[in-house]
Amino acid sequence: MPAELEPARPEQASPDTEPSASDPRHSDAVPHSDVEPRHRDREKRLLRLSLAGLLLIFPLAFAAASYRDVAALLQSREIIGEDVQSGASMTYAGGDWRLDGFKVVTGGDPRLTMPEDRALVILRLGVALHQDVGELWQMCRISLVDAEGRRWLPLFLTLPGEIERLIEPGGLSAPSCGSVALSKPKASSQVTIEEKFLVPRSALTTLIPVASTAGARPRYLRFERPAL
């Protein structure tokens, strides 16, 4: 049973005194603080440096463990918006993007009537490519966002040919953004992206077309609609 340790008495310590094995108050297994003041100061400084080092190491360790997740988060979120004026185009993800058409279908033909609370929106974006965009345009997201932040995603809808012609008498229908990206369009070509949405009529006035791609997020485009 070891005797209780007495606190170190500074006046007893001297630079040349080693803890004595024959001293009955001490034993090899029990460390004691009876060291010289110079050593104690060094210990204190080392302790402070270590604590300060922790303040540095924790954020570094956190960053090292999560930088990939942060990169993935930035690639999936639309954070920095850029407004595209009506009629103008904006350089984004390897091309100049322009709003070509925002068509609202509520009726006009017996075959096109929609229930009163909803409307079909056909959105067209024209892009003049500067480079090959197959990679940049992966996971491209085209949506309509209203003033409250509600978001409508495109319909996976292929309309019968005659309905398409009713809606777009002059033009051809264009592929969706994903299809265009898969077809790997070449630099300095023109592509048209078409997406269809089903929205409530009450939200029509505040809807804003928004586009982003994995290669360019967290930046995204907000298109101003031509005067309604």
Partner: protein, 191 residues
């Protein structure tokens, strides 16, 4: 001697406190599992990305519906529970991938896949914000599962740190009449 007893006592206290902390911590699956939104049938229950309102629950021994150009019949040794529901997306376009019936004992019966193709089903149907959808949830259950049950509704089938609406159904379902046959399309149209 006193030092030893004090040390032993504080060690024992530490062990007890830590053991208690460990025992009362839910498992990882619960900690990262669904975030419940509780409610009752007949009221609108709001989850993160959608709202759901359960109406009437009909019971039948067999179901009938039209799909892929023909009439399909499904019979059961248990009972089919058909719940009328109105769902609406609130944040963005989505669909409900998790629709299940939980009985009083915690047994979970997933939405029946035997009626795939029925037009009135809400399982997997695309929901748009601002456009509520009316439709049906269909479950096949043993009779004992009708009492004090609740519905679990979520966007993903196994929500992880996402909302799950838990809707209590009326306690007296097991006493309701079970019809011989129920036509899903007619039932959906009638409500």
């Amino acid at each position: 001697m006193r030092r030893l007893l004090t040390n032993a006592a504080s060690l024992a206290l530490g062990v007890i406190v830590l053991a208690g902390l460990r025992w009362t911590t839910p498992g990882y699956a619960v900690l990262t599992g669904p975030l419940p939104s509780d409610g009752r049938a007949g009221t609108t229950v709001a989850a993160r990305g959608f709202t759901v309102r359960i109406g009437d629950v009909e019971l039948a021994k067999s179901l009938r519906y039209r799909a892929f150009g023909r009439t399909v019949e499904r019979t059961s040794d248990g009972v089919f529970a058909v719940a009328h529901a109105t769902v609406e997306a609130t944040a963005q376009s989505t669909s409900l991938g998790g629709i299940a019936w939980e009985d009083a004992g915690g047994i979970v019966f997933a939405h029946s896949r035997r009626v795939d193709g029925a037009g009135a089903l809400l399982l997997g149907k695309r929901l748009q914000p601002g456009l509520p959808q009316q439709g049906l949830f269909v479950f096949e259950l043993p009779r004992g599962a009708l009492k004090s049950a609740r519905l679990l509704v979520s966007e993903s089938a196994e929500p992880r740190l996402d909302s799950q609406a838990r809707i209590r159904l009326p306690d007296d379902l097991q006493g309701r009449a079970v019809s011989e046959g129920l036509d899903l399309d007619e039932s959906a149209r009638a409500r």
